[in-house]
């Protein structure tokens, strides 16, 4: 599927956002690593379809009507066999918040290796156009609002300075005996999202807000584990 098709299809379906799968497909088009995944309609398809995936995996419900999947009981992590995946899907289908709404299917995804959680976001300023944002995940973003913004497109130097100005920058460098986090991997994603010809600039007219949360950075690189794109 072409990049604009992902967006025009969502619009045709009257959706105000890309679903997780479409969002990750969009990121993958721009070279951002996303977990390997398959979609199943129900538990019966699991054994056949998930053969290419490595355990452990995560299962997430796909529904345009569910905003917070975890709260609805629609996310199960750390599943180690096809039988566990089937069981998880059957349990989800019985959750009241899931049984009552339209379900597009279930996303089965390889789990990214543990690492530093980052957030990369985007939004369109009515006067300045697309902006790109970066922060450390969890409380750093949510409680301390420790984020830096730039106007797109950014240069490599801009991306480096964005990370350097975070209050949590020392954590990336390996504070208190922890292993340093690959800043190059984060910068690489920042440029693919917010750089020259990056995702936000190319889709400036369509994307109102973007949220890659979390981007997990480990020795294996940076992986966009969840992604949300709100259309304008």
């Amino acid at each position: 599927m072409k990049m604009h098709d992902l967006i025009s299809m969502a619009r045709k379906q009257n959706r105000s956002a890309l679903d997780e799968q479409a969002g990750k497909a969009l990121l993958a088009r721009y070279g951002v690593a996303v977990p390997l995944s398959v979609i199943v309609a129900g538990a019966d398809e699991v054994a056949q379809k998930m053969k290419p995936l490595k355990f452990p995996v995560v299962v997430k419900v796909m529904s345009p009507d569910i905003l917070h999947k975890s709260d609805a009981g629609g996310v199960k992590v750390g599943l180690k066999s096809a039988a566990e995946v089937e069981g998880a899907i059957r349990t989800m289908m019985q959750q009241p918040a899931i049984a009552a709404v339209r379900i597009d299917g279930f996303l089965i995804e390889e789990m990214a290796p543990a690492g530093q959680e980052m957030v990369i976001g985007g939004l369109r300023d009515p006067q300045f156009g697309p902006l790109v944002m970066v922060g450390l995940g969890g409380i750093f973003v949510e409680v301390l609002a420790d984020v830096s913004f730039r106007i797109c497109p950014i240069t490599r130097l801009d991306a480096q300075e964005m990370l350097a100005e975070l209050k949590g920058a020392a954590i990336l460098k390996g504070a208190r005996g922890r292993k340093p986090v690959s800043q190059e991997a984060i910068i690489d994603v920042l440029l693919k999202v917010g750089g020259e010809n990056g995702l936000l600039t190319q889709h400036a007219a369509d994307i109102k807000e973007a949220d890659i949360n979390p981007l997990i950075v480990s020795d294996a690189g940076a992986v966009a584990v969840d992604a949300r794109f709100i259309l304008s």
Binding site: Q127, F128, D158, E165
Partner: protein, 482 residues
Amino acid sequence: MSDQEIINKFMPLFAPTTVAVVGASTKGTALPNVFIRRIREFGYSGEIYPIHPSAEEIDGLRAYRSLAETPQPVDYAYIAIAAAQIPALLAGAGGRVRYAQVISSGFGEVDEGKGLQDELAAAARAGGMRLLGPNCLGIYTPRGRVTFTEIGPREVGPVGIISQSGGLGTDIIRRGMGRGLRFSGLVTVGNCADITPSDMLEFYLADPQTRVIGMYIETAKDGRRLFEILRDAKSRKPVVILKGGRTQQGLMAAASHTGSLAGDDRVWIALSRQTGCILVDTLDQFIDTLLLFQALTPQPQHPTQRVVLFGNGGGTSVLATDFYARLGLDVMPFAQPTIDALAALKLPPGTSITNPVDCPVGTLQQEEGRVAEKILDIIYASGKPEALVMHLNLSAFVGRTKPEVLDNLVQAALRVQSHYPGQAHFILVLRSDGEPSLEERKREFRANAVALGIPVYDEMANAGYALAALQAYERFVHSRSA
């Protein structure tokens, strides 16, 4: 567009040879009559065409019925009549006006005027002119001898100003003048129905007369263009931005002031980090920073880091050291060889010869103030600072020293400066207690120092903010020149 093309485009605005004035009355009391008087007093020698529906003559000048009937095409039209009459006036100009500045209010800044503002912009296009305003005060352009203010320096200087508020524009000229600022121009742009701050920024960037640019912005409707102009300018000139409406409450005030939504604070911080423009928070910081860039040449090859404080006042030095450290400027003790060399001067007891260098008046008045040359020569030769802040508490000098001591101190510093060209920025802080005769002395002393190219500040903190802005600019240029 090349620099020369941009300059050619805007020169009729900054140096008009024909000025039309709409709204002057035969009684000579309306604002446009005052404008005519002011530009004549300011030395404007081109044509002035009053436009009036019936009068034959206004303020001794022959009046014309419309903008289309003047003997020569009009470079600049100053318009202050009832808002509703202006669109028809502009539409009827028949391509004979290049710049029209609409002073009148009652347009986009109020809900009921939004439609009229659209009409005004369309009329300006139909009349073939560029439009400044509406809802502004005018232009001050010493090179063109045109001014809307009662008071303003007659000489042309290096500071180009764009102000979205007319009243603040007046403040900038009047207060800046007292501090020694000299302008290449000041344009009030009001509601920006056509010409925006970005247009004016393009001019000042191209204009060889302008070395530093100051902008007071409440809303940037064309923020994207502002970003692109600043980015593409590659910090060729320092741009200092005083942004109104950076908080929610300020934003509401700005919305009622200029009639459109202001941008978000974080986008302005991003703009500054990406383009090297300098954001300031207050009018004082704005003037302090512009003054610094007017007087000093940025040294991006060695960005300002080490600062030497030299003057009288121990507590003042300590407080300033703390304050500068918080701003990211170092006031670090000298290395031993510097201290040894200073000790060899055998200065009187009570003199601190590390950094900050605290010299009581008793020390500073030695050799009528020429002792400073020896001290500073050692500091420059071995201390290698990037900036020297000389602070003089005038209250401690008056009545205790000969009048020439203060001058000699500054002359001594300038001589050392000339021996080490480009090494350290030299800044003077003149502290006073507000006593009238002391203030008078300070005023004269400040004027002399500014005339010598020295930026002068009232307090250490003001100088600190300005130095931190210089540091930010130098670092930005340095980081982008690799």
